[in-house]
C-alpha cells in the first residue's frame, strides 16, 4: 500500500530511499536522509547542497525535537523537500509548516481539505520563522 503524502512543492518527488544521518556522511551519492528525534540536524549542514529530501520522523507527535531540526535546516538555507513522517496529526500541521516542512507523510491519512483548513487556522503570526510569513510586529511597523 502506498501511503499518502501531502506535498506542497512543484518539483518531482525524490524516489531515493532515505538513509540514516550516520550513514549519510559516508554515502556520497545519497540524496535523501531521515532524521530521528535524537539526531543532530546540524550534522547535515556541510552537505545541504546534495540533499533533495529530508524526512523528519515523529515516532510520537508529543516529541517536538523535529520542529527544531526542521527550522535549523531551513535557517541554514536548505531548499529541498522537508517531510514530516510518522505520528503527524492534523492539529500539528500548521506549526510544522511554520517550521519549514513542505510535505507530510502521516501514519493516518489526512485529507487535503482538512490540511488546507489547518494551514488557514491563524490569520497572522506573532513570530518570524522560516515560512516567509511576516510577523505581526512587522505588519504593525511596516
Amino acid at each position: 500500500m502506498v501511503e499518502q503524502t501531502l506535498r506542497y512543492r512543484d518539483d518531482e518527488p525524490v524516489s531515493d530511499p532515505a538513509v540514516t544521518v550516520d550513514a549519510f556522511a559516508d554515502q556520497s551519492n545519497a540524496t535523501a536522509v531521515r532524521i530521528e528525534p535524537g539526531d543532530d540536524a546540524r550534522a547535515l549542514l556541510p552537505h545541504l547542497e546534495r540533499i533533495a529530501l529530508v524526512e523528519v520522523n515523529f515516532p510520537a507527535y508529543t516529541d517536538g525535537r523535529g520542529y527544531s531540526a526542521a527550522r535549523i535546516l531551513r535557517e541554514h538555507g536548505y531548499a529541498g523537500e522537508l517531510r514530516a513522517v510518522g505520528d503527524v496529526l492534523v492539529d500539528q500541521l500548521s506549526h510544522m509548516r511554520r517550521c519549514g516542512f513542505d510535505s507530510f507523510a502521516p501514519n493516518q491519512d489526512i485529507s487535503r481539505e482538512a490540511a488546507d483548513k489547518a494551514f488557514a487556522t491563524w490569520p497572522d503570526v506573532y513570530q518570524k520563522t522560516v515560512d516567509g510569513r511576516p510577523a505581526i510586529w512587522a505588519k504593525r511597523h511596516g
Partner: protein
C-alpha cells in the same frame, strides 16, 4: 494596561473557532479522547476529580475591571458561583461542562482574555511582579517586556511540544515578589552603571519533585535581544532536554546534568546564530507596547497623610498596604485568606466588587498575586478608608498579608486528580488555630505553603513553613518542611522528619512557632531564626514525647 489591536483580537478569535471545531469533533466521535486531551489541555481544560476545570490565563497577573467583572460573570453563568485564584496568577473554575467551554472562551475573548497555553508541555502564561508599575522600589517596569513575551510565546510553532511545561517569570525590582529563581526562566530587569537596562537570565529553577534554584545564565542581555536569547534558551532545551523520563524532563534537570557553564556555552552558540536571523521585534514595537503602560493620571497634589484613628483600619493598613512610587498613593492588597476559608477562592459577587473598586479607586487596574491574593495597585491614600470599608462589608478586609494565616494552598485532593492528600482542610485548621490576629502579628512574617502532592503547586519548598501531603498506604499524611523562601533570599525547605496526621501537623506547626518565639533575637523573622539556630531545636520540640501525666 495593554489593549489588543486587530491582530491580537484576531488571534484569540481564531483560537475560539479552532477549539469550537475540536470540541465538536470530539463530541461527534471523530477524534478519540487520546487525540483530544492534548488539544483541550492547550486551552487549559483539565478533567479533574468532579468535573472539567478551566484555567484562564491572566497575563502577568494584570486585569482591568471589565475583565475582572467577566471572570465573576463566568463563575455565575457557567460554574457554581466562584473561582479559584492560583499560584500562577491565573484563575480556575472547577465545575465546567465541555459543551460550554467554547462559549466561555468566546466570552473571554470579548474582553481580550483567553486560556491559551495554560497547560501542556509548552511555554505557559508569563508571571510577573504583582506590584509592577507601582512599587516604590521598582527599577524597570517589567510589564512591557512581559507583554512582548506573551506575544512571542503565543502559538510559538517550534516550542509547542517541549519535553515538559515551561514557566517564565519577569521582575524589575530588587525585591523579588515573583519567586523568579524558582522558574524555568526568571528574568530580572536590571540597570548598569551607565543607566542602561539589561535582562539578567536565571535558567533552570523549579519546584516539583526536584526543587532547584536557578543559576544566572545570561548576566546582561540587551532588552532588544531578549526574544532572541529566549529562542536560544528554548531551542537548546527542546533539542537536549530529557524525554525518557517525565520526572527528569524539566529544564532544571538539563542545566543540572550538563552544568550551567556548558548550558550557557550552548545557548551562546545558538544565540549568535539566531541574532543573524532577525527574529527580534523592532525597537518601535517595544515602544508601542510601553505606551500602554504609561503612569495613570495621578493627582500630583494628593495628600500623603492617612487618618488611622479607626484601629481596625490601622491594622489593615499596617499589614496589607505597601508604599507606592507616587506620593499620595498606596498599593492595597486584598487577602483572599479569611480564617477557616479556602485560600484563593472568591465568590462571583466578591470578584465583581473587586472589579468595581478597581474601576472607582485604582485607575481600573487589578493584579493577581502568586500568593493567591488580589492587588489594587494605585489607590489614592485619601480613598483607602472607603475602599477598606467596602472590602470589610464583603468579607475581604482580612488584615493578614504575609502572616501565618495568609496560606498558599493548592486545590489538593478535594479537587485535583493528581493530588495525594487534601490541602485545603489543613489550611483551614491552621488558620483557625492561629485565628487571633494579635498572635499572628506577634509571629510576624511567616509564609506557610501547602501542596497536596510532590508537584508542588502550593510552593511548599519555598515556604518558611512548608507542608507536603503524601499518600501513606491510602491514608493522608503530611510532611513538614522548614526554612524555604522565595524572594531575594531564595532557599529550599528541609523536611523535619516523619510525617503527621491532619491534626498532628497543626500541632507540629504550633510547636515550631513556640520555638521561634522562645529563641528569636530582635527583628528576626521565623525563617531568620531557623537559619541561625538550625533544625535541631525545632525537631526536638516537634517530636518530643508527651509526658504521660502531663
Amino acid at each position: 494596561m495593554y489593549q489588543y489591536d486587530q491582530y491580537d483580537q484576531a488571534m484569540v478569535d481564531a483560537r475560539v473557532a479552532e477549539f469550537r471545531d475540536q470540541v465538536a469533533r470530539r463530541l461527534a466521535g471523530e477524534i478519540t479522547e487520546d487525540q483530544f486531551k492534548p488539544l483541550r489541555l492547550k486551552n487549559g481544560l483539565y478533567l479533574q476529580l468532579h468535573a472539567y476545570m478551566l484555567r484562564v490565563a491572566v497575563p502577568y497577573g494584570t486585569l482591568n475591571s471589565r475583565q475582572m467583572r467577566m471572570l465573576g460573570d463566568i463563575a455565575d453563568k457557567y460554574d457554581r458561583g466562584y473561582g479559584h485564584f492560583t499560584t500562577r496568577q491565573n484563575i480556575q473554575y472547577n465545575w465546567i461542562k465541555l459543551q460550554d467551554a467554547p462559549d466561555i472562551l468566546a466570552d473571554l475573548a470579548s474582553v481580550e482574555m483567553h486560556a491559551i497555553q495554560t497547560s501542556g508541555n509548552c511555554i505557559r502564561n508569563t508571571t510577573a511582579d504583582h506590584f509592577a508599575g507601582a512599587a516604590a522600589d521598582e527599577l524597570v517596569d517589567p510589564r512591557p517586556y512581559a507583554e512582548l513575551l506573551r506575544q512571542w510565546s503565543t502559538f510559538h510553532p517550534e516550542f509547542d511540544y517541549l519535553p515538559r511545561k515551561f514557566k517564565i517569570a519577569i521582575i524589575g525590582s530588587e525585591t523579588d515578589r515573583a519567586a523568579m529563581k524558582l522558574h524555568d526562566i526568571g528574568i530580572q530587569l536590571v540597570t548598569n552603571d551607565a543607566g542602561e537596562v539589561g535582562c539578567r537570565f536565571y535558567v533552570g529553577g523549579g519546584m516539583g519533585r526536584t526543587p532547584m534554584i536557578a543559576p544566572v545564565i545570561g548576566e546582561f542581555v540587551p532588552p532588544l535581544q531578549m526574544i532572541s536569547y529566549l529562542e536560544a534558551c528554548l531551542r537548546v532545551y527542546n533539542r537536549y532536554g530529557r524525554r525518557d523520563n517525565k520526572y527528569k524532563a524539566r529544564i532544571k534537570i538539563l542545566v543540572h546534568e550538563i552544568g550551567a557553564d556548558e548550558y550557557r556555552r550552548q545557548v551562546e552558540e545558538e544565540f549568535a546564530h539566531i541574532l543573524t536571523l532577525g527574529l527580534e521585534p523592532p525597537p518601535a514595537e517595544l515602544e508601542r507596547i510601553k505606551g500602554f503602560f504609561e503612569q495613570p493620571g495621578f493627582d500630583a497634589s494628593a495628600s500623603d497623610e492617612l487618618d488611622l484613628s479607626d484601629p481596625d483600619f490601622a491594622v489593615w493598613v499596617s499589614q496589607n498596604v505597601h508604599a507606592h512610587k507616587q506620593p499620595g498613593y498606596a498599593i492595597a492588597t486584598i487577602s483572599l485568606k479569611p480564617v477557616g476559608g479556602i485560600p484563593g477562592d472568591a465568590s462571583a459577587d466578591q470578584i465583581r466588587l473587586m472589579a468595581d473598586l478597581a474601576r472607582d479607586y485604582s485607575f481600573d487596574e487589578l493584579r493577581v498575586t502568586h500568593a493567591q491574593n488580589i492587588v489594587l495597585p494605585h489607590v489614592k491614600k485619601a480613598d483607602l478608608y472607603t475602599v477598606w470599608q467596602k472590602l470589610d462589608a464583603a468579607g475581604l478586609a482580612n488584615a493578614n498579608l504575609d502572616l501565618i494565616s495568609d496560606i498558599i494552598a493548592c486545590p489538593g485532593l478535594d479537587y485535583c486528580s493528581l493530588a495525594n492528600a487534601r490541602s485545603i482542610p489543613v489550611a483551614q485548621k491552621i488558620s483557625e488555630r492561629f485565628a487571633d490576629l494579635g498572635r499572628q502579628k506577634e509571629l510576624g512574617e511567616l509564609k506557610l505553603k501547602i501542596s497536596g502532592c510532590i508537584n508542588a503547586c502550593g510552593h511548599h519548598h519555598a515556604g518558611h513553613i512548608g507542608i507536603l501531603g503524601v499518600d501513606r498506604k491510602g491514608v493522608e499524611n503530611y510532611q513538614l518542611l522548614l526554612g524555604g523562601s522565595e524572594g531575594a533570599d531564595t532557599s529550599l525547605g528541609t523536611i523535619t522528619g516523619p510525617g503527621f496526621s491532619e491534626d498532628g501537623i497543626v500541632d507540629a506547626i504550633e510547636k515550631a512557632t513556640d520555638v521561634y518565639l522562645a529563641q528569636r533575637s530582635d527583628g528576626e523573622r521565623f525563617v531568620d531564626t531557623y537559619r541561625r539556630i538550625g533544625m535541631a531545636p525545632f525537631k526536638e520540640a516537634i517530636y518530643a514525647k508527651e509526658p504521660v501525666n502531663g
